[in-house]
Symmetry: C2
Subunit: 121 residues, 2 copies
DNA sequence: GCGAGACTCATACTAAAGTACCAAAAAGCT
DNA sequence: AGCTTTTTGGTACTTTAGTATGAGTCTCGC
C-alpha cells in the first residue's frame, strides 16, 4: 500500500515516466504474490511430514515399542528386528503384541497404516 | 505484456484515472505471480504424491496383483482381501507370492515399503 | 481359432506372526 | 529403599503368511 501510494504521487507530480512506475508496481506485486503463495503452501505441506510426539505419549507407546514399530514399517521380520535391536525374538513378539493392542490393530501391516494416519511415522 | 501496454496507452490517452490503472496492473501481476508460483511448485511436489503408472508396468505388475498390493498397504489380511475382491484365499496367496517376487520383497510389510519408495502407492 | 499371459483355485507344506501367561531383571520416581 | 513401569525372555499354542506345484478358465492380440 505504501509503495502504491508513493507511485501514484510520483506520477501526479509528473517527475517520473508513467510506464516505469507501472512496471515497478507490477514487478513488486508479482513478487509479493509469489512470496505470499509460498508461505501459505509451506504451512500446509509441513503438516504431513512431521512426527506427532504427543500422540505417541497419548497412546502409551513405550520407547522400545515405538522402535519396534519403526522397524516393522521398514519391512523387517521379528527375527531381523531382534538382531538389529539386540533382543530375543520373544521380546520382539511381546513388544509387537502390546503395540497392536495400543494401536487397535490386528496385524503389523494394519499397525503401520494406523501409525501413518496418526502421523506417528 | 499486452495488459501492460494497454494500461499505459489508457493513461496516456487520459481517459482513465492513474490510480485505478496502477491498482489494476498491480492486482493482475499479483495473481500472475501466485499462478506461476503454484505451477512451478506443483511440478516439484507432485513427484512425492502421485502414483507412477509407468513403474507399475515396468515391474510387470498385473492389475490384480496391484489391487492386492493396495489392500495389503491398507492393512488387510489375505482372508479380508479375498472377501473384498471376491476371491478365494488361495488366489490371494498366489497374487501375493508373485507380487513379492516382482518387488524383490520377502514379506508383505517390506513390499509396502518398497512400493512406497517407488511411488507406486 | 489359437497361443500367451493373466486369473482363478486347490492341496500340502514350511515358516513366520501373533496370543496367553508367567516371571525376573532394569530403570525411574518419590 | 520401595514401588511402578518398562524391558526382557521363556514356553506353549493358534493363526496367518508364504512357497511349491499343478491345473482349469478367460481374454486379447494376431
Amino acid at each position: 500500500m505504501l509503495l502504491f501510494k508513493l507511485s501514484t504521487y510520483a506520477v501526479v507530480g509528473g517527475n517520473l515516466k508513467i510506464e516505469l512506475v507501472i512496471a515497478a508496481v507490477a514487478l513488486a506485486f508479482f513478487f509479493i504474490g509469489i512470496y505470499l503463495n509460498k508461505k501459505s503452501l509451506s504451512s500446509k505441506t509441513n503438516n504431513t511430514s512431521e512426527v506427532d510426539t504427543d500422540k505417541i505419549a497419548e497412546l502409551g507407546l513405550s520407547k522400545r515399542e515405538y522402535e519396534v514399530l519403526q522397524e516393522i514399517s521398514r519391512g523387517l521380520s521379528n527375527r531381523e528386528i531382534a538382531d538389529k535391536l539386540y533382543l530375543s525374538e520373544s521380546t520382539v513378539k511381546t513388544h509387537v503384541s502390546n503395540l497392536l493392542l495400543k494401536l487397535n490393530a490386528q496385524r503389523r501391516t494394519q499397525a503401520v497404516k494406523i501409525a501413518r494416519q496418526l502421523n506417528i511415522l
